[in-house]
Symmetry: C2
Subunit: 124 residues, 2 copies
Amino acid sequence: MKLNFEKAGGLVSAIAQDADTGTVLMIAWMNEEAFEETVKTGRAVYFSRSRNRLWRKGEESGHYQEVREIFVDCDLDAVLLKVTQKGGAACHEGYESCFFRRVAGDGLQIVGEKIFDPSEVYNR
Amino acid sequence: MKLNFEKAGGLVSAIAQDADTGTVLMIAWMNEEAFEETVKTGRAVYFSRSRNRLWRKGEESGHYQEVREIFVDCDLDAVLLKVTQKGGAACHEGYESCFFRRVAGDGLQIVGEKIFDPSEVYNR
């Protein structure tokens, strides 16, 4: 099994979904190395475009993602990870999901619950 | 509310999730026009990179997506659509979800159920 990294410009999309609740937690990117390490270790590893390096989810916060199942899409350029999110929050802003705001009219409404205070988790 | 289209190179990621079951159906792209039409019409409109034009999901198959809610991510460069999928299948290969194959060892295992036969739906 081979993902279409070449066609995808080196990076495929990776969606993380809570394996138990079905909540979509986040979307990130994977290069081939990140995908292979994810499969091998059972922990989600992404490729950070802003830092231009592998991003072992939880490396700073300790909130890693245990990968329970991996699905690939019809075009082989996107993957869906069913995960258990350690710490209860995937988003660096402290919410369970990065998708914690809902479009409401011309604005946004916060619908997610804050699980942690980022300033207490990250040393920045 | 403004998505970061510029930072995202013109296109943001768009995940469609079944509003009732939580199944992740597909991932595609949206430019600003696609996003605005989606919000305005309540039907999912994507931007097809291969065809380089707006893609009104279901325009050929009739299997459009009724958008029930829209969420945006922390970076404002990805959206999550909670949809009702008409026809029961989002994937052009006839499966409910484009993520119908699971990584199993070195191979892939089909886990999704085929809802329709593509040759009966698309004239290609």
